[in-house]
Amino acid sequence: MSFFDLQGTLKPLTALKQFGKKPHTLKDIPWKKREASDNYRGLHFNDIDECIGCGNCSTICQNAAIDMIHLEGVEGKKGDSGLRPRVDNGRCCWCALCVEVCPTGSLSLTKDYIYVTEDPDAFLWTPGISNPDGEERKSYVSTHELSLNHFNRIPMPELEGKERIKSFAEVVLGYNEEQAREEASRCISCGICTEVCPDHMHIPEYINAIAAGDDKEAVKIIYDNNPLPEMCGKVCTRRCEDVCAIATRGDSVAIRWLKRYATETAATADITHEIVNPEIREANGKTVGIIGAGPSGLTAAYYLALRGYDVTIYEASAKAGGATMYGIPKYRLPIESLEKQIGYIQSIGVKIKFNTKVGKDISFKEIYDKYDSVFMGVGFPDAWPLGVDGDDAEGSMQAFRYLYMINSGEKVDIGDKVVVVGGGNVAIDAARVSRRFGAEVTILYRRRVEDMPADWEEIEGAEDEGIHIIPQGIPTKIHKDEKGHVKAIEYLKAEMVADDKGGRPRPVAIEGSETVLEATAVMAAIGQMGDYSFLPKEFEEKITIERGRFVVNEKQQTGDPKVFAGGDAVNRTADAISAIADGFRACKAIDEYLSGK
């Protein structure tokens, strides 16, 4: 190369040809806005109505850019924490992971390229409130497929329908370890579920313990406010799962099955004792008498005993557990499981007097005088009859009584054609039990299948087992044969009529649609009721009963300050977990009452 390189001097000059070209740059910025691409990650937008305030966005954000705050006009309710995200744009790095983990899909990023303000605090930005028009500029969104949430539940292994009806073996087989860890890992730990649980169990905590592989810790957390968790793990009505954040776009986390998995770790009463390692306070010399060893009575007894009280339960039947022992079929809740949990409760010092019916074997007054405080968890021992013509026929019975007798080991003659009237869990239970005794079973229900109050899994299970469901049928008459035995049931078909007052649609019978269904047994499963004959007249004034239930205050206390009540005979939800919640609340109130705090 010479000192003067002609080519090296001239070639760069060809750049001058660019002079004639139109510039690439956009003119008029910032007055004219450049349109961003279709998945640009700009500012946040949140659909305030769709958002449930789970705070998952705030958790994934390790820049601590997202706060959850109260907003005016957004009230917390069941399934909604009432909080909404606010973004500190000074910390945001626009990674959009908050969008990817949002279970509802309410959070997204917009196409906004430029945002300029002189107010330094304007960078605190409440998506959806600060930019209500952001909806139209949404670009980076989370779809069902792209979301990082796992919307599909790990299926629960079950016995097959044909296998099931051969015996009373437990239908649900339970998760194995790997399945449980995977299912538990779906949980986002928001805790929204805990609010609807009547007992407010510590759900995110024990699920997280399972996800972390600490099953024993999970059991310990569960026992913090539920002494019958294995029962709940098998048969709870699990309203928690209805409000699960993941359920907004997918299957809820299998909270009940996870509890079931954890409690399986505690295989015997002794192991339970070892794992829970309860701290039992020194005896304080005070005594509590409890009527009924159902879930509410057992719960109150367990936690009172932990607090140093001398607790005695009076139980009319030969076994404890109440409706969970006698009302739930064994293929859902095996007897050993319940006895193990009750055994553990007894092992910490709770005394149970079996076959002792209050009002017959011992008077209420005697208990009232003997103990410093009394808790009544008497439940609903009786069932409503069908109340139609021919109801007195032999073979016409109440499903609840039927289950009680079967669970007590008695034999009941039901023939080979059973009709169960009703749509709740009791109806399904009676139907599935009858099926296991070889009968052909039909369920007759006034409304549609989707209106049935029973668990959907139970309804599906019944169908799998070959149970026939006749919806929209109103029974009118039971036909008897010459010996006075049930021969058939007559019903009217119904049509659903919208309720003017905004309630759920009502069934209205269609005239002339009488249908006769052959039957050897008819079981009514249309509700239970209380039996308060044990209560002497002198108490009636203080311990009042309204619409078939005891009247109590928010501490489960009746008009007599010494007497507390809980369970089906008090609450309207009539399930085991509500009874446990009542028992737990009553325990705290009795402790307060007796310790004078």
């Binding site: 760069p12 060809t14 740059t25 998945n39 990674c95 990023l109 792209l146």
Partner: protein, 367 residues
């Protein structure tokens, strides 16, 4: 009369595009006697912060290790976690990743064109190449939703599939770039100023290569055919046909020629990728990030960035937080001991150009 050495501080403002670092020079007249680098102006402790983060939200830090070249770091993190947790990546995702990596390589080289020329006072080139780089950023914006920080490759695959008609846009951009590269040749490589300022300047002696762990274009500019894409193929590089350009001079000029040839190779790779890319899944779903426990173990993954080998030593102790994530950057070795080693004897005016040609990137040194 004996001349006294003067101390001269170069930086810590950006000398060229090399980031905030300082070189303390002792000079005699225009000639450098000794050099001492000083870093510490943008330490952000990303690796420390990862101790608090989980396996997913750690990934948003990755792209920030080196601002002009973000994608190889994302790729490394994704591959490190995948190798620890045995995650299978769909074939399509691998092709998309290679496309992204090669687009990033072109974008980085265009930025380097700007820096290399800017450090010599040839500013027109810089404006052209930065302007053309923006066309690639436009592609990134459409694909990933971000222009500079893409946060696109994550453990399991990539975050979004190609938008509709994206392949066509890529091809059109490549065609345009190929035309422009000719203009670049005229303005830059044929330019006698550029030649005179780069030939024989910033010489890296052969014996320094092993001594200083030299990698990338610097290594290939010294005549050694070494490239991780060939030596230890990752993603789908083993299915692609491309060349590893080398030069003998081991000076800034040689390294410039290597980079120039690499842009052409990248264009060639992207065309093949678009041609071969299979249909199907683009991502394998990972567990819920808040409860994701990666299997315990350690791994070291490497990738060839535009500046040479970047590597990632990753350790998991089986919890939801990474135990240790340790980056090895190309600049980490080039811009400290190697730079200090080759600067003595050079002219002060060439320091920025030398730093540029070594691929200095201060954010990568400090992390």
């Amino acid at each position: 009369m004996r001349e006294k050495a003067t101390t001269l501080y170069l930086g810590p403002q950006h000398p060229g595009i090399t980031g905030n670092m300082m070189v303390r020079l002792k000079v005699m007249g225009d000639t450098i006697v000794s050099a001492q680098t000083e870093v510490g102006y943008l330490h952000r402790a990303f690796e420390k912060l990862q101790e608090r983060r989980n396996w997913l939200n750690s990934f948003t830090l990755m792209c920030r290790f080196c601002v002009p070249e973000t994608d190889p770091m994302e790729n490394l993190y994704a591959r490190a976690v995948e190798s620890l947790d045995n995650i299978e990546v769909p074939e399509r995702a691998k092709y998309i990743r290679v496309m992204v990596l090669e687009l990033a390589r072109i974008a980085t080289q265009l930025m380097w064109y700007a820096g290399q020329n800017g450090s010599l006072g040839l500013y027109t080139m810089g404006q052209w190449s930065i302007g053309d780089r923006d066309y690639i950023l436009d592609l990134f914006e459409q694909l990933t939703g971000g222009r500079v920080y893409h946060m696109y490759q994550w453990p399991g695959g990539v975050r979004r599939d190609l938008p509709e008609g994206f392949e066509g846009k890529v091809l059109r951009t490549l065609d345009y770039l190929e035309k422009r590269l000719k203009d670049y040749d005229d303005l830059m490589f044929s330019n006698s100023i550029f030649q005179k300022r780069t030939q024989g300047v910033g010489y890296v002696p052969k014996e320094s290569i092993i001594e200083h762990g030299v990698v990338g274009p610097v290594l290939r500019g010294a005549g050694i055919r070494s490239d991780i894409r060939i030596d230890e193929p990752y993603e789908v590089y083993d299915k692609l046909d491309f060349e590893i350009p080398t030069q003998e001079g081991s000076d800034i000029w040689a390294r410039a020629l290597v980079r120039r040839a690499e842009v052409h190779q990248s264009i060639r790779i992207i065309r093949q990728v678009l041609d071969q890319m299979p249909k199907g899944e683009f991502n394998t779903s990972i567990p819920n990030p808040m409860k994701w426990r990666v299997k315990a173990g350690d791994t070291y993954v490497r990738a060839e960035s535009a500046r040479g080998e970047v590597g990632y030593y990753a350790v998991s102790d089986g919890t939801i937080h990474p135990r240790r994530m340790h980056l090895r950057g190309a600049a980490y070795v080039h811009a400290i001991t190697l730079l200090e080693n080759i600067l003595p004897g050079q002219n002060v005016a060439d320091v920025s150009a030398i730093m540029n040609s070594l691929g200095t990137c201060a954010p990568e040194i400090e992390r």
